[in-house]
Structure formats: structure tokens, C-alpha cells
């Protein structure tokens, strides 16, 4: 009973976070904030759903595969978030009318 309630709460919070990331990707004003919404909110939502699946399905093979999914997701999410932000900067959509500070330009790295 307790397990059922915990799994249900984790599933609903995770799915609500993914839906919230969808809301953010529609409402936020520029690509940097949209990349932030996807690489934080949606990533945390998937994390909670995987943890709920680990608690729900306790057979050893499923737990092994799901822990591998969890590790792969935790390792790759910061890298893809960095790649998204870097792509939106390098494609010229995050210049000073959008952002107030442009540190890579000031330090002569662009």
C-alpha cells in the first residue's frame, strides 16, 4: 500500500515535470531559457519516473537495466544541456539584446 502510494506520487510528479517543461518551452522568451527548461525540468521528470519504475518492478534484471538507464541519463544530461546552450549561443540567438552580459565575447573567445 505504501509502495503503491509512493510510486504513484513519483510517477505523477515526474510526468507533471515533463509537462511543465513543455509549458516552459512554449512560454519562455529565448533559446537559452528554453534549453534550461528542458535540461533541468524534463531531466528531473524522467529521473523520477525511472526511480518509480525501480521501486515498482523489483525483479533483478529490470532493476539492473533501470539503474543503467539512470546512470546513463545522469551522465548525459549535463553534456546535452551544455551542447544545447552552446549551440544557441554560437548560432547567434543569444546576443546582448537577449542577454545583458556577453562574457565569451568580452574575453575574446568568440
Amino acid at each position: 500500500m505504501i509502495v503503491s502510494i509512493v510510486v504513484s506520487a513519483l510517477l505523477l510528479i515526474g510526468a507533471a515535470l515533463v509537462a511543465l517543461a513543455g509549458f516552459g518551452i512554449l512560454r519562455l522568451p529565448d533559446p537559452l531559457t528554453r534549453a534550461s527548461a528542458v535540461s533541468k525540468a524534463a531531466a528531473l521528470g524522467l529521473l523520477l519516473i525511472i526511480v518509480a519504475a525501480i521501486i515498482d518492478d523489483r525483479s533483478p534484471w529490470a532493476v539492473l537495466v533501470l539503474v543503467l538507464v539512470l546512470i546513463a541519463h545522469l551522465v548525459t544530461v549535463p553534456l546535452s544541456g551544455l551542447a544545447l546552450a552552446r549551440a544557441s549561443y554560437r548560432s547567434g540567438t543569444a546576443k546582448p539584446p537577449v542577454t545583458t552580459v556577453d562574457e565569451p565575447f568580452e574575453q575574446g573567445r568568440m
Binding site: L11, V18, V65, A87, S88
Partner: protein, 96 residues
């Protein structure tokens, strides 16, 4: 399998809402970076839906698909981001 089916169904509906938002942003996105961000959200929604369908049908085999989808999604995001980055530096003649 102890979770109520209706909870999994509600979660699937919420994830479909997120995926629809990603589709809309990929269609109207003003820049290429917006479309890459929308593709990343689409991948995360697809993996979440895979895990939820595995719970719903009680088929642990589908978790293997989730593992492969996470890795492929990461590679695709990196590739698309590099493509967006490479495009402008090719046009302006800078080295990346």
C-alpha cells in the same frame, strides 16, 4: 506491478502534453537552436513514455528499449547541436 492503472494513464496524458508542446515549438521555433531544444524534449518525453508503457503492460523487456533510447537520444542531441554550431562558422569562415 502495484501501481493503479489510472495513475499510469494520467502520467501518459501529461507526457503527451509535453511532447505536443515540443512539436509546436519545433514547428514554429524561430531559430535552429529552438528546434534542437524541442528535439531534446521530444526524446525525454519518448523515453518517459517507454518506461510508463513498460509499467502499464508489466513488460520489463521494454526497459531495454529505454536504455538504448537514452543513449541514442544523447548522441542525436550532440550531433544536432554540432550541426547548428557548424553551420554558422562555415558561413562566416571562422574555425570552430
Amino acid at each position: 506491478m502495484e501501481v493503479p492503472v489510472i495513475v499510469v494513464d494520467i502520467s501518459l496524458v501529461l507526457i503527451v502534453a509535453g511532447a505536443l508542446a515540443a512539436i509546436v515549438r519545433a514547428a514554429i521555433g524561430p531559430s535552429r537552436a529552438d528546434r534542437v531544444v524541442a528535439a531534446e524534449l521530444g526524446f525525454i518525453a519518448a523515453v518517459s513514455a517507454l518506461v510508463l508503457i513498460a509499467i502499464r503492460l508489466d513488460e520489463p523487456v521494454l526497459f531495454d528499449f529505454a536504455l538504448i533510447a537514452v543513449l541514442i537520444g544523447f548522441l542525436t542531441t550532440i550531433g544536432l547541436a554540432r550541426l547548428v554550431t557548424r553551420k554558422r562558422s562555415d558561413l562566416s569562415g571562422e574555425s570552430s
